[in-house]
Each structure stands twice: as C-alpha cells, then as structure tokens.
Amino acid sequence: MSDIPILKIGDCLLVSIQVDMHDRLAMALQDDLTHRIVTDRARGVMIDISALEIVDSFIGRMLNNIAAMSRVLDAVTVVVGMRPAVAITLVELGLALTGVRTALNVDKGLAMIRDLIDSPEHTNARRER
C-alpha cells in the first residue's frame, strides 16, 4: 500500500498528492491505482497535484504512464491543479505530457471526466468491446 489515499467518487477515483513524491512512492502509487481501477471498475481517474511544488522528469513520466495504463484499463485520466511554475518547468524539460488530459482544478477536472465518459465515442467504444 502506498501512503497516498485513493478516494472513490461515483465511478471516478481521486488521488490527491499532498506529499513530496519520491520515486518508490510513485511506483507504489502506480501499482495501487491500477489495482483500484480494476477492483472499483472506475472509469475516470483524477490526479490532483496542486500541492506539488516540484515535479521532476520521473514524476512527469509517472503521470504519463498512469494515463497510458488507465487508458488500457478503459478509464480516462485528468491531471488537475498544476502550478504555473511546475508547468513552465515541465515544458522546459521537454515534457509536455501530451498523453495526459489536464484541467485547472478539481471542479473542472470532474466536469471534464463526466464529459468524456458521457461522450458518444467513449460509450460506443465500450459497447463494442
């Protein structure tokens, strides 16, 4: 188990990262989250990083990985609450996180997940499977 709580809101999972991420914690979170997506049949994952002041390339890659893994498990991932300084740093590092959806805050993130889940392409894709 990682120290980062994963909260379930309807069919979404909310992960709020409040402590500084070290690499092992990041790996544990990845592990935990994928398990929870499967067991809770979650369709959306929201990762709140508003408390993070430092996001290095490893954490950046982890966010990308989580998004990719959730996609494989048929859940959409939205990263919310990134600080301006963090955004600039990531861009300067060349990590534009192109595979990850982003929103300004939890509110908008939740709305975005609702939109994505309810959009016809997504439900169609689900029905076809």
Partner: protein, 284 residues
C-alpha cells in the same frame, strides 16, 4: 622641494579667476550650437576648486584615489545632467577638454610651468574620459530601464469573455520575453479559471524556428494548466514561412482574432446574437 602636483594646485589657486574666465570663454566658443548657461559657470567654479583639492593631495596618474572623489562626483552629476538634457558625448567631454587652453596659457606664463604640460594633459584626459564613461553608463542605465519597461508593457493578458483569455503578442519573441509571457498567461489562467487562451501573433514581425518553439512552449504550458490555446493573427507571409520551415505547431489556428473568438465561444457553448435580427425574426 614641492612636487609637481602641489605646484599645479598652487597655480590653480593663484590664477583661479583668470582660469575660470578663459575656460568659460573657451566653452562658449566650442559649444557654439548651444547657449552656455549659468549652471555651467557654477559647475566650472566648483570643478576648479575640486581640481585644486585633488592636485594638492592626490596624484595626476591615478584619479581613483579618495583625493579626487569630489572631482569625480561632480563630473558624474554633470554627465548625468547632460544626458537628461540631450547633449552629445562630444559636447559633454568638451567641458573638461576646453579647460586645457586657459590652463596652458597660465602654465606658459609661469616659468616652471612648461615642464608640467605633459602631466596636466594626462590628468585632464583622464578626467575627460571619466566624464565620457559616466555619460555612457547613464545612457546604458536608461536603455536597460526602457528594455525592462518594454518587456512589461508588451505582454498584456486580456480577458475577452468569461473563461476566454487573449494574449496579443507584439514584437519578436526571445527567451526572456517568452518566459514573462508564459508566466503572465499562466497566472491569469489560474486567477480567472479560463479554459481557452487565444494567442494573437499579428504583432510578431517574423516567425522562425526559435519563435515557433517559444510559441509551442507557451501553448504546452497552458495546456498543462488545463487551458486550450488558439493561435490567431497569422499573416499570409507567416503562414508561408511556417510551411516552408516545416514547422508543426499542433494547435488550432485562425486567421483573425474574430474567428478565434468565434471558435472559443462555440467551444464554451456561448452565442453572440444580433438583437435586431432576433426581434425581427420573432416579429414575423
């Protein structure tokens, strides 16, 4: 035996009035284009006094010693004033150099003065160069301040509509400006909760690979904050350049800001209606 510096100091003290008169006359002649006004006479008198003090205590070949501090300070203030009054460097330096003539006349009259000509020339040259240095330093300060102001002035972030920001870029984008633009934009995205940012490049004269890269960075950073960007104001030449350079901006682009605003409104599910047409429509 008195050394060369104190000889000159005594000389200046003794001939102060004659020197001052000769100097002011020389200045008047050299700066024919401008009126030699009263403050210059005051400054000249003060300078003469400081010169005597400096010569009494200091050495001619080193004006950085404390003995010369009053003279340097005076020249510094003088150069600053000249910059703000719009004088040229030559006109500013002439203030010091025109002192040579009356001084040499006095030296010639004194029997033991001739031997000092070389030393005194050295000193006055140094003081003249110091004046020029102060002059250009002041100029550079002005330029630096203007650059800073330009940076701040030219990167406004405008709220066009609820949730729609516009970023009209004017001038060339270099790394320093991109940084400021990005910071401003991201701060405003946080403050206003905007979901769409329109980046207008009508005022950007050229788009090369570097400018494009800066644009991409800004767009990516905004996206990480959850805001989508629309690029607008792309002039035909710039569209051609972008294609010729093979740049891939990966962003929705519109020719004009109006088109971009239209798209932004559509995306946020808002409409602007022509009230006259609406009332006419319902009236029928």
């Amino acid at each position: 035996m008195p050394n060369k510096e104190s000889v000159i100091a005594a000389l200046i003290d003794k001939n102060q009035q004659a020197l001052l008169r000769g100097w002011l006359a020389a200045q008047k002649r050299d700066n024919r284009s401008r009126e030699t006004n009263a403050p210059t006479a005051d400054v000249a008198e003060q300078f003469l006094r400081h010169l005597a003090t400096g010569a009494a205590g200091g050495r001619f070949d080193d004006i950085s010693t404390p003995e010369w501090a009053p003279a340097r300070e005076l020249l510094e203030d003088f150069s600053r004033a000249r910059v703000s009054q719009g004088f040229s460097p030559t006109e500013t330096a002439t203030f010091v150099f025109s002192f040579k003539e009356p001084l040499f006349e006095v030296l010639q009259r004194e029997a033991d003065g001739l031997a000092q000509i070389w030393n005194i020339t050295l000193l006055l040259d140094r003081l003249g160069l110091y004046t020029i240095e102060c002059y250009s330093r002041t100029r550079e300060e002005v330029i630096g301040r203007q650059q800073q102001e330009l940076l701040e002035l030219s990167t406004p972030v405008v709220e066009l509509w609820d949730g729609i920001l516009a970023l009209p870029l004017i001038g060339t984008l270099d790394s320093a400006r991109t940084q400021i633009v990005m910071e401003n934009l991201l701060e405003r995205i946080v403050a206003s909760g905007a979901e769409i940012a329109i980046i207008d490049i009508t005022g950007v004269p050229t788009v090369d690979t570097l400018v494009a890269q800066h644009l991409i960075k800004t767009i990516s950073a905004a996206r990480l904050m959850g805001a989508d960007c629309i690029l607008s104001g792309i002039r035909p030449q710039i569209a051609q350049t972008i294609v010729h350079l093979g740049l891939e901006l990966n962003v929705v682009s519109k020719a004009t800001m109006a088109d971009a605003l239209g798209l932004a409104l559509r995306r946020t599910e808002k409409v602007i209606v022509d009230r006259a047409k609406v009332t006419a429509g319902t009236g029928d």
